[in-house]
């Protein structure tokens, strides 16, 4: 049984939430509680399958799964193929954990609302789309899953339609997503037109870095960077994160990171060694594309960190503030990725592309920060939701003294505060330390900006802590009670993972982050696992 599950895990990881999505409205007609249990079990099973697959990938290496075909892979590859390496497995862990926590949280958080059959159906669709983006080895398939994720996300951002601003935020989100997806499709069409293939490994193997390839690269990076919320293409993000229910904001982090994963896959795997062996000419200057991409990403990352932090400091709405903090956090990841790409080099004799030790540390820091960001910002969104649930208020100017009534929520917020600001011994510190030290060796200014921004991020959340939890009890909040147990369990689960990741960083780095970083360091294993036997 377990062998069967493991063999078909890549397909089941998508099929289970997808089938669950279509069954949810039917079960919803029977009983609301039964529907909630069904959704939690569906996502629980998906999480179990992801962990099963991830354990296999981390132990035995890359797994390929060809849909509707049991034998060896044959050329031309026309079937849909999932290829799961360390990075895919790493991302899938995030992609299944966030929705699972969100639905546990939703049990109480969203129970007063109507239309919950649609709410849970969309969450399952969103999860299927997100996991599809993270597992597929096919470019067109990536586009399809991107669309599924975007459409379901937009509908969920607008879930509170009685608040007009939610509909506006959803409209902006769908416009941004549609335009981003259109450019991704355009790039996929360019690549297909040239290589008569859509499979990522085949494309990576045949990539010649022609003029059209360069255009496709630009379209893919720009579109996915916009979907990742990189400054100055980030403005949709605080709108969407801020207006969606908190249980959806936490899953939106996962969808944003799925787009960031796309940037990583395109730069490191699809174009890989072409970025170092080819030369771009700017005027009289000859420079490798890897260095150019690195410079662009680092500049955008610094802008993302600074704009995110400065805008967060000014906000008076709690959820918008966390939204801007999420923007800043994305900057840290992009900074690490840019720093890693800048150290990319190909050996002229062997033709093997490698990364310097500093680059590898930066890459590990960046990847580690992806999961830390999902947990830290996710926890803060859930706490913001808990505050809204208890007080029906998100304005920092109106809140105050809640630590007296909401003791557990206060402690959970403090954990999130320390984690997101990179305070020891929380998880954020370990990943940020790797980023600071590696970027310092590339250019100290990068590290200095990152550290100062992290301090500002601490100031941002100290402001929240003071405004929301400290101070005298406000008469309007005298009757406020602690949130229900399901919400505390969801927040507590994230807080526990944050603390475990913080106290045992090397354990996480060795077992989860290293395989993901190794998967990006060279695209040869990714290509050979599909084409090796042909």
């Amino acid at each position: 049984m377990m062998d069967y599950l493991l063999t078909h895990a890549p397909a089941l990881i998508i099929a289970v939430p997808l089938l669950g999505a279509f069954l949810t409205p039917l079960i919803s007609r029977i009983n609301d509680k039964l529907r909630n249990i069904f959704v939690i079990l569906t996502l629980g099973l998906t999480t179990f399958l992801v962990f099963l697959l991830a354990n296999d990938v981390f132990t035995n290496g890359i797994r390929t799964y060809v849909f509707g075909h049991a034998g060896d892979i044959t050329l031309p590859i026309v079937r849909i193929l999932f290829e799961i390496d360390g990075l895919n497995a790493f991302m899938a862990i995030i992609g299944c954990l966030l929705p699972l926590i969100a639905v546990i949280y939703s049990w109480s958080f969203i129970k007063e609302n109507t239309g919950l059959d649609k709410y849970y159906t969309l969450i399952l669709l969103m999860t299927a789309g997100m996991l599809g983006m993270m597992l597929t080895g096919d470019m067109f398939n990536f586009f399809v899953f991107l669309e599924i994720t975007s459409i379901s996300s937009a509908a969920l951002v607008a879930f509170w339609t009685n608040k007009g601003k939610a509909s506006v935020a959803a409209f902006k989100y769908i416009v941004i997503s549609a335009i981003g997806a259109l450019f991704v499709l355009f790039a996929v069409a360019i690549l297909y037109g040239q290589y008569n293939a859509l499979n990522m490994a085949v494309l990576a193997n045949n990539m010649s870095y022609s003029f059209l390839d360069k255009i496709a690269l630009v379209l893919l990076i720009a579109a996915l960077a916009m979907k990742s919320g990189i400054v100055p293409m980030h403005m949709w993000l605080p709108d969407a994160y801020g207006r969606a229910p908190s249980s959806i904001s936490i899953i939106l982090i996962g969808t944003t990171q799925a787009s960031l994963y796309g940037v990583l896959r395109v730069c490191f795997t699809l174009y890989g060694s072409n970025l170092t062996t080819q030369i771009n000419q700017i005027g009289e200057l000859l420079i490798s594309p890897a260095v150019l991409i690195a410079i662009l990403l680092i500049v955008l990352a610094l802008a993302t960190i600074l704009v995110g932090v400065l805008m967060a400091l000014k906000q008076t709405d709690l959820k918008r503030m966390i939204g801007y903090a999420a923007v800043a956090e994305i900057g840290f990841m992009v900074l690490a990725i840019g720093a890693a790409i800048s150290t990319f080099q190909t050996n002229a004799q062997t033709g093997i592309t490698t990364m310097s030790t500093t680059g590898m540390v930066a890459l590990k820091g960046g990847i580690f920060h992806i999961i830390n960001d999902a947990l830290d910002i996710g926890l803060l969104f859930l706490v913001a939701g808990a505050i809204y649930y208890a007080t029906k208020e998100t304005s920092l100017n109106k809140l105050g003294g809640l630590a007296r009534n909401m003791k557990y929520t206060t402690v959970l917020f403090l954990i999130g505060l320390f984690a997101v600001s990179g305070m020891p011994p929380m998880n954020g510190f370990a990943s940020k330390l790797l980023i600071y030290e590696s970027t310092y060796q590339i250019n100290p200014i990068l590290s200095i900006v990152a550290i100062l921004s992290s301090i500002l991020l601490l100031a941002v959340f100290v402001k929240v802590f003071h405004s929301v939890f400290l101070g005298p009890q406000q008469s309007s909040f005298k009757k406020v009670k602690e949130v229900p147990i399901s919400m505390l369990i969801a927040m507590g689960a994230i807080a526990c993972i944050i603390i475990i990741f913080g106290i045992f960083p090397d354990l996480i780095l060795t077992n989860i982050v290293n395989p993901a970083a190794q998967a990006l360091a060279s695209n040869t294993p990714y290509i050979t696992s599909v084409l090796g036997g042909i």
Binding site: I176, I215, V218, M233, Q281, P424, S438, K463, Q474
Partner: protein
């Protein structure tokens, strides 16, 4: 089993430094014990519910507690005031207009085109 315990206790190597939260935690705990020991040598003269516990306001009457809460807009006023120029341009950019959102996307894509495709 020993291997797992060893892995759990491992120090994170950052390339040019290291980080071990367990060592850090132990040092913090020792510092706390030392601090607490020093504190215990102090005078035990605190009387709850007396004049001692009231805030000192130079003889003025204490105002309404609820109104004394400093609101979020007033925090970091000096910081935002000194960066007024930066904030004014940042606020201008964040105008909530979807057309501008797309415009920024086009601008960034244009820069990528110029730099990577080499339109020189």
């Amino acid at each position: 089993m020993m291997e797992i315990i060893e892995q759990i206790l491992n120090t994170l190597d950052t390339g040019s430094g290291f980080w071990n939260p367990l060592v850090w935690g132990t040092i913090i705990l020792i510092a706390f014990i030392i601090g607490y020991t020093i504190r215990s040598f102090g005078k035990i003269g605190y009387k709850k519910g007396t004049e001692q516990t009231k805030p000192f306001l130079s003889g003025n009457i204490e105002g309404d507690k609820e109104k004394s809460h400093i609101k979020a807009s007033n925090l970091y006023w000096g910081f935002t005031e000194s960066l007024k120029g930066v904030y004014s341009s940042l606020t201008k950019i964040h105008n909530g207009n979807i057309n501008d959102y797309i415009l920024w996307f086009i601008v960034i894509m244009g820069i990528f085109f110029i730099v990577l495709v080499g339109v020189f």
